[in-house]
């Protein structure tokens, strides 16, 4: 079934296959292979990324730089007191965002949460970051939201990542974790009824999987074989609680077993491994086989939010954090591209923000086009106005009827 569902997959090996990045742990694939009722999952490393062109791989690297630059720039802005609200850093987790988004079709849906802020402007980025018609948000819109300005897609009514766009097919989240998975299921259910073969990627922390609605939504998607791909960003910490106090098993992908759906483990530090697993899940879903869960192993670089950075040392010893941040996704990507001869070592060394905290990097660590792109967004956000006060009382109800 896998070969039918994934005909564009060659057998070429992944160049940066660390022990952690083994595509699917043998126990996972063996177990669910025997238990699943008509579903299947890859029994070897899928390598959709082998079909990416040199230019596409370099574009993914550029997106990775962009995600990191967005993150560090915002941290700096916040520290200078220029932003209100809490920042939830995606630092060290950007490979999941870039790798999962890069192969999506423009009409596919995404449902990002608080640690996926770059996803809003990286969705359908292949259509051109400056293309106003692409199915992703502009950097001006995203920065407008971060700066709490009226140009935000949600007109600055709810904070941080709680924005979306029906037209761009980005689902608006709330603070209630896993609460948008059923919404995602409903969105693709409607697409299916309309004859559209789309998928939805939902992003969740591993902590979210303990919510009741996670179970209810994934169960419903499995029953109806809905194309809902649940990405679990396992960054080892649910705010201040370690994974062993959240779930009794090592791999959160095993959550899938109870629903009879594939549960894959990806190396969240390797965007190409994430890309491979997500592409497999997309093909599987588009072929009508239904949902899957992809656990991306990663490590949260900072506290839960920037309000928590100073207190995070209480529950996360420094040596643990240092070890967790050893495999920076930018370094992993560059190593692979150098090994494949796509990137020269000299070019790889030219921009090196990897392994550096927000306080240690400068604009020189990033390509000029990346810096320029974000600058447009920041400038627009700073120039934009705040919403008019009376908007606070508007849009409780839609006035006109159908």
């Amino acid at each position: 079934v896998r070969k039918d569902a994934h005909t564009d997959c060659s057998t070429q090996e992944n160049a940066d296959l660390s022990p952690q990045s083994t595509a699917v742990s043998p126990k996972t694939s063996a177990k669910s292979g025997s238990k699943n009722n008509g579903t299947t999952e890859p029994n070897q490393s899928p390598v959709a990324s082998a079909l990416l062109t040199k230019e596409q791989k370099l574009e993914m690297l550029m997106h990775l730089y962009l995600a990191r630059y967005f993150d560090v720039r915002l941290i700096k802005e916040k520290k200078k007191g220029r932003l209100t609200g809490t920042l939830y850093s995606s630092h060290n987790q950007e490979g999941i965002i870039v790798g999962s988004l890069y192969g999506l079709q423009p009409s596919d849906w995404i449902s990002p949460i608080h640690r996926d802020m770059p996803a809003f402007f990286l969705k359908d980025a292949r259509a051109g970051l400056d293309n106003p018609d692409r199915m992703g948000m502009s950097i001006e819109e995203v920065c407008g939201q971060v700066w709490c300005k009226v140009i935000s897609p949600g007109r600055a009514r709810d904070n941080w990542s709680h924005i979306g766009s029906k037209d761009k097919r980005i689902i608006h989240s709330t603070s209630m974790l896993a609460g948008t998975i059923p919404v995602a299921a409903g969105a693709v259910l409607a697409d299916r009824l309309n004859g559209q073969n789309t998928v939805v990627l939902t992003y969740n922390g591993e902590g979210s999987t303990a919510q009741g609605v996670f179970h209810e939504a994934v169960n419903f998607a499995a029953v109806h074989k809905l194309p809902v791909i649940t990405i679990i960003e396992n960054n080892q910490w649910a705010y201040g609680t370690p994974t062993h106090l959240e779930y009794s098993l090592e791999d959160f992908a095993r959550r899938a077993d109870g629903y009879g759906i594939p549960g894959l483990v990806a190396d969240g530090q390797d965007m190409f491994d994430v890309y491979d697993k997500v592409m497999w899940a997309c093909d599987y879903a588009r072929a009508g086989n239904g949902p899957s869960i992809i656990e991306c192993k990663t490590f949260r670089a900072y506290g839960h939010g920037d309000h928590d950075d100073d207190r995070a040392a209480k529950y996360r010893p420094k040596d643990l954090v240092d070890k967790g941040r050893e495999r920076d996704p930018i370094a992993v990507a560059k190593r692979r591209l150098v090994a494949e001869g796509i990137l020269s070592q000299a070019d790889a060394d030219k921009y090196s923000p990897e392994g550096k905290g927000a306080g240690q990097v400068s604009d020189e660590d990033f390509p000029a086009n990346v810096v320029a792109y974000l600058k447009k967004g920041v400038d627009a956000a700073i120039a934009a106005g705040l919403p008019a006060a009376e908007e606070g009382g508007k849009w409780v109800f839609r006035e006109e009827s159908n």
């Binding site: 897609p153 009514r157 409903g186 009824l193 209810e216 409780v396």
Partner: protein, 338 residues
């Protein structure tokens, strides 16, 4: 209240349940983008038969038998509605809505607001509600105040077959989420069955109905308490008092105009609801009257509600805590003689 008996098959009068069902069938016919989701609503036709025959007629891709997952029912409805569908989401009993509470108050209710008007959700969440049937704690609730307290939700409580059909149609055409309370004790009540118009009609959301005109006191209520209030008005009439009975029908939005006009006329008011007293909707009605018509009052506005208890099972216990005709009459007399 009269005991529950089925309408005879020969009658062309429609009972309350049939009225809801007709509204669903007609709207499913009218709107190809409408779907229904709920527990046991397809093959079985619903615990009470409200959706009987619906799946047979419209197929399993429009009428979904859902897992026992109220949060998923609401959440999936939100996603489908966000993407252009109209959804009727049934709670098997309105008591069970608490299992989907977060999806309703934080997700569905706020969607239009937090998207700055971008997304409007055409969803009706409905389910059998109300006490007086020996349903005990978890099959008797009226929890409308939870949702009236959550900005972004409209709340309707029909008391007649005509309103049940007309409000359901209005709700299914409203671009906002609507909480719709079916009164399960009224479903098959023969005494309230009535002829329904052949032609398409709606009952506009936000308009109260004056069920009986009067000049001495206004009874304001909704749902099955309408019938308790009409009985109380009759008894008071026998004692020479002319009592007006207002059936709110919609709690959100609230028809303040009808309320205020009546209070201006009668100068005395008693508000009745079967939910608990503290923070119940009757309290809200009293507060609005204080805001808008205080100078017209000749007596304190009074509430008759359930005691601040759950709904117990055994009949004497149940009637002890709930509003009854006798309790309403007694409170009206207190206000009339103030």
């Amino acid at each position: 209240m009269a005991t529950m008996t089925k309408a005879p098959a020969t009658s062309t009068k429609k009972d309350y349940l049939t009225a809801i069902k007709e509204a669903l069938v007609e709207e499913m016919e009218r709107n190809p983008d409408m779907i229904c989701m709920g527990e046991d609503i397809g093959l079985l036709g619903g615990a009470f038969g409200v959706t009987d025959g619906l799946q047979e007629r419209f197929g399993s891709q429009r009428v979904y038998d859902m897992p026992i997952s109220e949060a998923a029912i609401i959440g999936v409805a939100v996603g489908a509605a966000m993407n252009g569908k109209t959804v009727m989401a049934e709670m098997q009993f309105i008591d069970f809505i608490s299992c989907g509470f977060d999806q309703i108050v934080n997700n569905m209710a706020t969607y239009h607001y937090r998207t700055g008007g971008e997304v409007a959700l055409n969803i009706v969440v409905r389910g059998p509600a109300g006490a007086y049937g020996g349903g005990a704690l978890y099959h008797s609730q009226m929890n409308e105040a939870w949702f009236a307290h959550s900005p972004g939700l409209k709340v309707v409580v029909p008391s007649t077959p005509y309103d049940a059909k007309g409000l359901m149609k209005a709700a299914l055409r409203d671009p906002n989420p609507v909480l719709y309370y079916d009164l399960k004790q009224l479903y098959r009540l023969r005494e309230i069955a009535e002829e329904l118009p052949e032609e398409d009609y709606i009952v506009p959301i936000g308009k109260a109905a004056i069920r009986q005109e009067g000049t001495d006191l206004t009874l304001i209520t909704y749902g099955q308490n309408v019938y308790h209030c009409l009985d109380a008005a009759k008894k008071l009439g026998e004692q020479g008092y002319s009592v007006e009975v207002i059936d709110l029908r919609s709690l959100v939005p609230l028809d303040e105009e009808t309320i205020v006009n009546s209070v201006k006329k009668t100068n005395r008011v008693v508000v009745v609801n079967e939910a608990p007293k503290t923070c119940g909707f009757a309290g809200e009605v009293v507060a609005r009257i204080s805001d808008l018509a205080f100078e017209y009052l000749d007596a304190p506005p009074v509430r008759v509600t359930r005691m601040d208890t759950p709904v117990p099972w055994s009949k004497p216990l149940e009637l002890f805590v709930l509003p009854t005709v006798d309790k309403i009459v007694a409170e009206c007399l207190r206000v009339l003689k103030f």
